[in-house]
Amino acid sequence: MGLTRILYSFEWLVSSRYLRSRRKQSFISIISLISVGGVAIGIATVILVISVMNGFEQSLKDKFLINQAHVNVRSTKGYFNNYQEQIDKIQGIAGVVSASPVIYSQLAIQPKRSKRIEGTIYIKGIDPILENDVTGFSGFVDGSFDFHDSALLEDVRHRSSQRETIKGGIVLGSSVASRLDINRGDVLRLISKMEPNPANPSTFFADVSNFVVIGLYESGMFAYDNAFGFISLEIAQDLYNQKNHINLIQVRTTTPEIASTIANKIRREIKFSNSGLYSVPRTSTWVESHAALFEAIQLEKLVTVIIEALIILVASFNIASTLIMMVMEKTREIGILRSMGSSKMKILIIFVLQGCIIGFLGIVLGSALGIGICVLLALEVVRPSRWFALLIFVPIFLQVAIALHQTIRRSRSLKFAISLLWLGIIAFVLYCLVQPIQINSEVYQLNRLAVKIDWFFVGVINFSSFFICLLATLYPAWQASKLNPVEALRYE
């Protein structure tokens, strides 16, 4: 009822007609078209940019979460004992799915073929079964992860000399492996410490252990794949002379969001005994471990939103200037309408409506464009050749032909068909051109630009943009409404 009243009202009739303006004033209708375009492009970029950033953040989170513990628990003083008791306690906390013991440290590495130390990697001593419950470890290993009893291990033991003892198997980060040109079955030396040579104190013994690479770990997160190796928990304890000690408990919670709540509970309920003293554990959640990154993303989003808000603002200025011109152009008509008894309010509404129509069309088109491109960026379908995009020339030719033969301009249905054709062709061209974007995984930790549309945000952007457009109409509309009718009639 309300809507039909608006659609049949005098104000609607006049404002929509003025936007479509005929002939002499076709200048105005081109300007209003440009204003629509301004709003549309603003909205489309906002949606696109924010969706890409959301997608980036989300896929980073997903990536972090597939191979990371939600909460890490450490003692304040290095290693701690009777960890099984603590793990049981932690597992008793509501919201905790599982907890696993780890010895975590950094070791120098040297491939057997190489003559020098090739840098350091983080070595996690783990119980593969428990680790799997917390971080989904097994899903990322290409090869075996049975550190003690592997066919590969036996094979290497047979081949190597008697003097070389093989400590066990190691699962090596795939990027480390390719960087050092190591394959499964190769031997890698881990240097755990240096001790002064009692005979000659200026030289050192290196405590070197040999490990056979039994599997490669590939999570897709370059920072991990390029920095980690996994060995058995017992072997690690042996390596550091820390029998029955660990220095890290990894915890998986039911959902990643509750990680910090669980961390607080753990700090309240767990006390580690440490050389007789009890200490509160240190905890860090997955968010805290990447705090800098997430804060950076958040800041970047904020800056983007501000810039986009400015784009919309510019678009709304565009609407305002279009309307100001329209008011000038229509001054005499405003006088006529006033002489026929339309109130100031009606004149005001006419121009507010025009601005709102421009804003609304821009928002609808922009949202369609932005969402469309987002969907296409995420769509894994083989597209027609990019050459098909040249179909864009079909409607252009048609329009030129029509412009040359002004006679057909009267045909409304033809005009409608041409607009539909334009829409269809533009959609098809976008379909051909917009494809998922590959990105450099070493820089971005991800190998594909992800897109995530936040519908709530789209709604908020649409609403606030419409509101801004509405505000932009007020000044010109008010100018129009306060024109003196007699002077307006006199206006040439």
Binding site: F10, L13, L337, R338, S339, M340, S343
Partner: protein, 236 residues
Amino acid sequence: MSNLIRVENLHKTYVDATSDDITTPIEVLKGVDIEVQQGEILAILGKSGVGKSTLLHLIGGLDRPTSGSVFFEDRNIHAYSDRKLDQFRNLEVGFIFQSHHLLPEFTALENIAIGGLIARKNVSETYSSANEILDYVGLVDRSNHYPSELSGGERQRIAIGRALINQPKVILADEPTGNLDRKTSADILDLLWDLNDRLDRTLILVTHDHGLAQRTDRIVHIVDGRITDQNQIVET
């Protein structure tokens, strides 16, 4: 005959702020008194720039006087609020201007109907009465044409039709034939007289044309901002 319109001691002074910083008030109307009977045709004569259009606008409620009052059916319209005055213009008055002042974006039919839409009358009824009016002014076959596609005389007919849509009691015409040739003028005037005759509309006509003025029921002259002897014809 009853008094439809009574103008009492009407003053209008323009304070022209556009020329220089010193504002020089232009006193156009200096106490105008007129009475107009229901069903009458009144001619207002006067030299150019004497304030005929100004007076017509004040009678029709398009502008506010500096002082004085205009009574329409014994109610002082300039005591009305702006909104009430808008409504008055919409329903009780029909303006016809020298240059047709049609809306270029609207068809002949729509130009006529728009006053009814402003009054928020039923849309389809408004359009059907607009059609009747179009028939009355003899342009029913041009209903979908835009003003730019009509001749001067046809445009003025549409303008007359537009003034009729809300069946106003009074038609205010400001040199309605000023832009037309003799033959077309005659047709337009016939139409206006017919309005008066058959529809009993009161007609106030501003004109330079003495010949035309002679055909009216009564003539008033404006000289120096006042009405002079109402039946005397001053040669200009």
